[in-house]
């Protein structure tokens, strides 16, 4: 095996406690297979995720960031996920404009019962990230 395929991207996941966090839990307990390279921060709502968190994660060297919340209409606080959606949309486009690969900014709707979907999302995100290089954006020298 060459080095490229051995490289495992580090992902930081911001998961809503009402849905995706439980979804990730379910994926674990039901032994769904997904890459173990995601580190998870539980947030009260996807609407809590300030784009600053995403940029900070990239600054800290994470290869990708996943924000996951409740499906439209299901937000515990009515509108939090809609707000997250707008923010994520502009953040993704804007970061792409300044030169961040779009693959690094990821979002998903995963409910508490969708353990399978969570595993699938992490697998796909990992695959996409493996297609680009490790995050050296903030390194001093290239």
């Amino acid at each position: 095996m060459n080095q490229e395929s051995e490289w495992k991207p580090r992902i930081l996941g911001f998961l809503c406690r009402w849905c995706s966090y439980a979804g990730a839990d379910l994926a674990g307990t039901s032994r769904k297979k997904y890459p173990a390279n995601i580190e998870i921060i539980r947030v009260p709502c996807s609407g809590r995720v300030d784009p600053l968190f995403i940029i900070k994660a990239l600054r800290l060297g994470f290869d990708g960031v996943l924000v996951s919340g409740c499906h439209p209409g299901d937000c515990h606080y009515q509108t939090g996920n809609y707000r997250a959606r707008r923010r994520m949309a502009i953040t993704k486009k804007f970061l792409e404009y300044i030169g961040v690969e779009p693959q690094r900014i990821q979002a998903s709707w995963v409910s508490a019962s969708e353990g399978g979907k969570f595993a699938e999302v992490v697998t796909k995100v990992t695959k996409e990230l493996k297609e680009i290089e490790p995050n050296r954006l903030f390194d001093d020298e290239e």
């Binding site: 940029i55 900070k56 600054r59 707008r86 949309a89 502009i90 300044i98 030169g99």
Partner: protein, 321 residues
């Protein structure tokens, strides 16, 4: 309508507002201490209104003072400024009834830096710069030179969408036409987008390694009204106070995301930057993204919800898994 006529009306209005007790303060422009420059005038003295001026150099977005001034304010506002004022209302920073907007139809402001580049002379060396319809007339050593306005206006003025204040209590002149033209190539959004991704990142890396973190861009920005900015938080410390390019870039990128839907492309951030960082190339891109995704134009409707607190049931979702 000539600036001198607008200026006369502005003085009359401002004086009346103070005399009738309708406002506590007048915020406008007066002649600055350097050639051509103007400077904000913030006063509660009715005699001071005689100092108010209107010229092609009234660059400051005066709405930046509104949240800070305690009392009712009569404010001179260009098209872009009036949009910033509307933003402040949308965000409940000021109440409509506490502000009297004296609208100045603005056909664009003259960028002295562009003139300096065109002539290879500093502004101190110019005798006069005036506007004659679509020409800018410059006298230097007694000789006149003229240029098309499109060559000397600020980039953001060339792409201005609302030269006439959308929200005003009194409009001080007739609506004026737009001057359009090519924006500076060096920092054009199109040019940046045409670059390979890595090159684009390196471009910003280079630009932000000059940043000294004076925060002028943030402090001139009426959309940056947080009492405590995230860069000044220490627990957790999001951004290092040390001006490394990484942290400078983080600061500016986050700032632009935070003011999305409030930025009116007034151009103040770029104009204020002493390190000549092309900040408008970030701000305007965000302005365009907001427009493209949500058909939202900042500060055009005081009754609308701020962009990032509103939503439609179905929108901009293609990237979500």
């Amino acid at each position: 309508m000539k600036n001198s006529e607008i200026e006369q009306r502005l003085r009359q209005e401002a004086k009346a507002l103070l005399e009738q007790g309708k406002v506590d303060y007048i915020v406008g422009y007066e002649a600055g201490s350097l050639k051509f420059t103007t400077t904000p005038l913030i006063t509660r003295n009715k005699d001071d209104v005689e100092r108010l001026i209107v010229s092609p150099f009234i660059v400051n977005n005066l709405s930046v003072y509104l949240a800070e001034i305690k009392g009712r304010v009569g404010i001179a506002a260009k098209g872009c400024d009036s949009r910033s004022i509307v933003n402040l209302m949308q965000d409940n920073k000021i109440a409509r009834e506490d502000v009297v907007i004296m609208g100045i139809p603005c056909p664009g402001l003259i960028d002295l830096k562009k003139i300096e580049l065109l002539l290879g002379k500093d502004r101190d060396e110019l005798d006069s710069v005036t506007r004659d319809n679509d020409r800018a007339v410059i006298t230097i050593d007694g000789k006149e030179k003229d240029f098309p306005m499109a060559e000397v206006l600020f980039d953001n003025c060339l792409e201005c969408e609302f030269p006439v204040p959308r929200e005003s209590d009194v409009l001080l002149g007739e609506p004026c036409a737009l001057v359009t033209g090519e924006v500076s190539k060096k920092t054009g959004i199109k040019e940046l987008e045409a670059m390979p991704r890595r090159e684009r990142w390196n471009y910003w890396k280079e630009e932000f390694s000059r940043c000294i973190r004076c925060y002028a861009c943030r402090n001139v920005c009426p959309a940056c009204f947080c009492q405590r900015c995230f860069v000044e938080e220490s627990e957790p410390q999001w951004v290092s106070p040390t001006p490394k390019w990484q942290d400078n870039l983080m600061f500016q990128v986050t700032r632009n995301i935070h003011v999305a839907g409030r930025c009116t492309d007034c151009g103040e951030c770029e104009r204020a930057c002493p390190m000549n960082i092309p900040l408008r190339s970030l701000a305007k891109k965000m302005y365009d993204i907001v427009d493209e995704l949500f058909q939202y134009k900042a500060g055009t409707d005081k009754n609308a919800s701020p962009l990032l607190t509103a939503y439609e049931a179905i929108e901009a979702e293609d990237f979500i898994r």
